[in-house]
């Protein structure tokens, strides 16, 4: 399976993340899965005209292009010219290259939230008119248009995340290589469901604090970060706390709130990232699928039942009170 990987208006972080894949032999594993990079900016030898020649041969159809991977948002500005990002050495805007190549590709994959939905590059007043391949935030459209379908009939596969987890990319490529990714494998915004059918909250190491609404109040506190610190783990679709990052890391275990970086429009939450917006002391963004009244009732109950250990540890940076050793009475 021939894969061409281009970097558009992003930060290169999804490539850097992919190279952190936890396998003894990433390139061997890809080769074994019949995944062959026609060109990848960080891995391939070809530079300059040699690299441009690979692109030209894909556009002409001489080289069969199975998967076009795009990392980074597509910069349409200024005034639709695409001149904020010219592909070096070609005098041609990157958006033109991507449009031509997507028209040839059997599958098109957005690697990261920038390429999927626009991402941080489209933040603020979006000075470069950045968008995703097939979305602009949560709105279908983007560079290729809502009706775009790749040669395979699939829309753009949005491996969203800022950055993406290496496994999300590698396993998506493997599924494509094995012919096992159809329309049913993608959620309503085009994300592979194998990771998007989870919430970041699942498996969070702060779960006991969540249960009792024992909340962190400042950076380095151990408590649940939903109530005050802006954590969106109960609403963000991803398996970040089930699938470790860099060994056994995750955002919430790293001491900071989930900013829902796999979601369209995460870059402009409408409030400071590390603060929870509230109405009458109740957070606005409640857990997905949970009626507000239930949440309020349960939170009041659980807060009243919080053990001292959990309450004290929640606002400490290390365990101050350890769980008590008591005989359970079980035989």
């Amino acid at each position: 399976m021939n894969v061409l990987w281009l970097q558009s208006g992003g930060c290169g972080g999804c490539t850097m993340s992919m190279l952190c894949a936890e396998t003894p032999d990433l390139l061997g594993m890809l080769a074994d899965a019949d995944i062959h990079f026609l060109w990848h900016p960080s891995l391939s030898e070809e530079s300059g005209s040699e690299a441009v020649s690979v692109l030209d041969r894909c556009v002409s159809g001489e080289l069969p292009l199975d998967v076009l991977c795009v990392e980074g948002s597509l910069l349409r500005g200024p005034n639709g010219t695409g001149r904020f990002h010219m592909l070096a050495g070609t005098g041609t805007p990157m958006i033109e290259w991507v449009s031509k190549l997507a028209a040839r590709a059997r599958h098109t994959m957005a690697v990261g939230t920038c390429a999927a939905f626009g991402g941080v590059t489209s933040g603020g007043l979006n000075p470069t008119d950045a968008c995703g391949l097939q979305y602009e935030g949560a709105t279908p459209g983007g560079l290729l248009g809502a009706d775009f379908r790749s040669g395979s009939g699939l829309p753009v596969i949005n491996v969203a995340g800022c950055p993406t987890h290496p496994d999300w990319v590698i396993e998506s490529l493997m599924a494509l290589s094995m012919g096992e990714m159809g329309a049913e494998a993608l959620d309503e915004v085009g994300r592979p469901r194998f990771y998007a059918d989870h919430l970041v909250h699942h498996g969070c190491s702060r779960n006991e604090f969540y249960e009792f609404k024992a909340s962190a109040e400042k950076p380095s506190d151990m408590g649940c970060m939903m109530e005050h610190m802006g954590c969106k783990g109960t609403q963000a679709h991803a398996d970040c706390n089930l699938r470790p990052w860099n060994g056994n890391g995750s955002c919430t275990s790293g001491g900071y709130p989930c900013i829902s970086c796999t979601e369209p429009g995460f870059e402009e939450p409408g409030h400071p990232f590390a603060e929870t917006p509230k109405v009458s002391g109740i957070p606005i963004g409640l857990p997905t699928d949970m009626p507000k009244a239930w949440f309020v009732a349960l939170a009041a109950l659980s807060k009243s039942a919080t053990p001292k250990r959990v309450r004290v540890n929640a606002t400490s940076d290390h365990t101050v009170i350890a769980p008590a050793n008591r005989k359970t009475g079980l035989k």
Binding site: C11, F84, G254, G255, P272
Partner: protein
């Protein structure tokens, strides 16, 4: 004489275009263009100041922690706060992990594969070098990638993930380290040390740090262990290809470092500007820095200190040829990066290399590997000195009006963030990244940037669109263009 336009220069991040004029088989003039602009400095305006900690790492997925550290330092500075010593050490560990992983990736993935190109086939050293370093297929890639991933597990523990962490906050680190995690961290650093000593250096890190001159290096590199290891192989290549004469910039004898890795406020690597011709270390202060816009696609023509700087695109500006601004120190072009840090901090080998042949392809690459050898033992010391139970973070309160400066050393060199807060919001945010210094375009006086100067004199073979020696020179600076123009 004709002008050739070359690009993309892939590996770390490919948005780089270089125009060359050649005469008599060598480059006579060069223009460096960063052809992508995203506008982070504009995006940041009007946001809550702490939101910079979400946005700025995403300027660059290669040096995202450096960007975090600079932003957190600017916020801490604006608040007039102090980071607890545990926080300093934890942040040093994260920054050092990123910087060293970057040097490591540069050597194995971005720089050495060029010696396995067909252009060198038939040279006496080619076959073993190609077997080791060929892109994708070389044995070094297969060994280095998992070693890199293992080393970056330090980030999983300390930073949650890499790139793009929010652990690094104004006032310190949001992730306290427990006693058993301190031991685990130490074992992770020691594992990386062992890989380096076995494959990269073929010797103890301390033996590499003890090299005091090029003569020392050459005789060490032909010794029993080092000769068969990767640095030894590179030194032999330098000898075979005269890489110490390639990519010099004799008119840029100034090597800058903002200083790095503070403990109780004192950086482990010193701050300053080394003037190689005068053999003198000069003080480096923020007020000596300006950014010149005359050849950048930015509105305005003058030069301004970053606290007063602006970033407004103007694509139709006459004489402009890059999105990159031209930073200058005391009006002068300077070089920055690992070699500069080692020179400024007084390492004898780095000073000897620069005294004898300046910044060049060999000295810039050796500078990185020397830095790996020097910093890993420091990481061991910082880890041992962590005090579980003592604070890693101190609360800060930002003024509603104020200014802050954060100056750190990223892998590629000096990174500065300048922040102005008005009415509780970001009024102005200006960033000068390392590649902005090294890949600067010309300034108002027409003086070319460091790489533009270093390319002059590079041999260009006729009939080759992408001369391999030009690639060595460019990649010896380790271009990372997303940072440059952000």
């Amino acid at each position: 004489m004709s002008r050739t336009v070359l690009g993309p220069f892939n590996r770390v991040e490919g948005d780089l275009e270089v125009s060359l004029e050649a005469a008599d088989g060598q480059v006579s003039a060069a223009w460096v263009n960063s052809p992508m602009y995203r506008g982070f400095e504009q995006i940041l305006q009007g946001k809550a100041p702490h939101d910079a900690l979400v946005m700025v790492p995403r300027i660059c997925g290669i040096c995202s922690v450096s960007q975090s550290v600079a932003a957190a330092a600017a916020l801490t500075n604006a608040a007039g706060a102090q980071v607890p010593v545990n926080g300093e050490r934890a942040i040093n560990l994260m920054l050092a992990t990123e910087n060293l992983a970057d040097h490591f990736t540069h050597f194995y993935l971005f720089f050495m594969p060029d010696f396995a190109r067909e252009a060198y086939a038939g040279t006496p050293w080619f076959d073993p070098v190609a077997a080791r370093f060929r892109a994708i297929k070389g044995s070094a890639t297969a060994e280095a990638l998992p070693a890199r991933a293992r080393f970056l597990q330090i980030m999983g523990l300390l930073a949650g993930k890499w790139p793009h962490t929010l652990t690094i906050q104004a006032g310190g680190s949001a992730r306290a380290v427990s006693a058993n995690e301190r031991i685990r961290l130490l074992s992770m650093i020691r594992e990386f040390r062992q890989w380096l000593e076995r494959h990269l250096f073929g010797d103890r890190l301390e033996a590499v740090c003890a090299l005091e001159s090029i003569d020392d290096l050459m005789s060490w590199a032909t010794g029993d262990g080092p000769r068969g290891a990767d640095l030894g192989r590179f030194v032999q290549l330098c000898d075979a290809l005269d890489l110490h004469t390639l990519g010099q910039a004799p008119e840029v004898p100034r090597y800058m470092s903002f200083g790095n890795y503070p403990v109780e406020g004192t950086p482990a690597l010193a701050r300053g500007v080394w003037h190689a011709a005068a053999q003198r270390l000069e003080p480096m202060v923020s007020s000596d820095i300006v950014e010149d816009l005359s050849h950048a696609w930015m509105a305005g023509g003058g030069a301004a200190h970053p606290l007063k700087g602006s970033t407004l695109p103007d694509l139709d500006k006459a004489d402009a040829y890059s999105w990159c601004k031209a930073p200058r120190w005391q009006g002068q072009v300077v070089q920055c990066g690992a070699l500069s840090r080692q020179v400024v901090s007084g390492h004898p080998l780095a000073r000897d290399m620069v005294a004898r042949a300046g910044g060049n392809v060999m000295s810039r690459v050796i500078g990185r590997l020397l830095e790996i050898a020097r910093i890993v033992p420091m990481m061991e010391q910082w880890t041992r000195a962590l005090e579980p139970g003592a604070p890693f973070h101190a609360s800060v309160s930002l003024p509603s009006d104020g200014e802050g400066v954060g100056m750190v050393e990223a892998a590629r060199g000096s990174l500065g963030h300048w922040l102005v807060i008005r009415r509780g919001r970001i009024h102005n945010y200006q960033i000068i990244a390392p590649t902005t210094w090294n890949f600067s375009p010309r300034d108002a006086q027409g003086v070319p940037g460091a790489l533009e100067q270093a390319l002059v004199g590079t041999p260009v073979e006729t009939g080759r669109e992408m001369p391999v020696r030009v690639q060595h020179v460019i990649r010896s600076f380790d271009p990372c263009m997303v940072c440059t123009v952000h």
